[in-house]
């Protein structure tokens, strides 16, 4: 029976890009300057043997190949345009802070609805404190 190897991953990255480290548990296998670590670098070579399952945003829109978002429900598409309209009203070329504020509020309202929709779908609840 093959030895059961324990592998772990962790992330480094405070900048925009991230790196993933892969280590194997091996008791007191690595020593340096009197320090000992129970984790050593993996000794595995393989093609496509590391599979990372991630949560991704929707597709980037363009005018030809991907003209529509696929993950975000249709009814929330307009609120993203509202956000862009708000950004536009903060631009010095067409500055109107009152309109910017208005469209940001419209966006925020829809954002709250979108968050509630996800919470409802996932079925997670929260405990609300009550004063008696």
């Amino acid at each position: 029976m093959a030895d059961k190897k324990e592998y772990f991953w962790y992330i480094d990255g405070n900048s925009g890009s991230f790196k993933m480290a892969l280590v194997e548990k091996a008791t007191s296998a690595v020593t340096k300057n009197g320090w000992t670590s129970d984790y050593k670098t993996i000794e595995l070579t393989g093609t496509n043997n590391l599979r990372i399952v991630g949560n991704y945003s929707d597709l980037d829109l363009d005018l030809s190949t991907y003209p529509k978002w696929l993950i975000i429900p249709e009814r929330f598409h307009k609120c993203i345009a509202d956000k862009v309209i708000a950004i536009g009203y903060r631009d010095p070329r067409n500055k109107d802070l009152q309109s910017a504020e208005y469209f940001e509020q419209v966006y925020e309202k829809q954002l709250r609805k979108a968050k509630a929709r996800i919470t409802n779908l996932q079925g997670t609840g929260r405990i609300v404190p009550q004063d008696f």
Partner: protein, 99 residues
């Protein structure tokens, strides 16, 4: 709504803004929206491992062969090594012995 319709909506308020600028802002805002609401899709990336190499660069975007299909990585759900799910290490090891 299509990209064209969304661009027209924005241009009703900002006729001086071009399609490229609006598309850029729409995509940036969309990523923020996905991150805030957790409206995301699950997708895989695969990477080759090399013995003695500890660090692997994570692609920020998932792209197709033409590079046109872009989705930003928002969070990591699971990691598999040789088809076995491996856990996340709590904290970082004190000694770095690999590259």
């Amino acid at each position: 709504m299509t990209a064209k319709q969304l661009i027209e909506l924005v241009q009703q308020h900002h006729p001086h803004m071009g399609e490229t600028e609006i598309l850029l802002l729409l995509n940036q805002s969309m990523r923020e929206f996905c991150e805030d609401t957790k409206m995301t899709s699950s997708s895989n990336v695969t990477i080759d491992t090399v013995s003695g190499t500890r660090w692997y660069t994570l692609p920020d975007f998932n792209t197709n062969t033409t590079g046109a299909f872009a989705m930003e990585l928002i969070s990591i759900k699971e990691v598999y090594l040789d088809d076995v799910r491996i856990p996340r290490l709590q904290g970082n090891p004190i000694i770095e012995d690999g590259s």
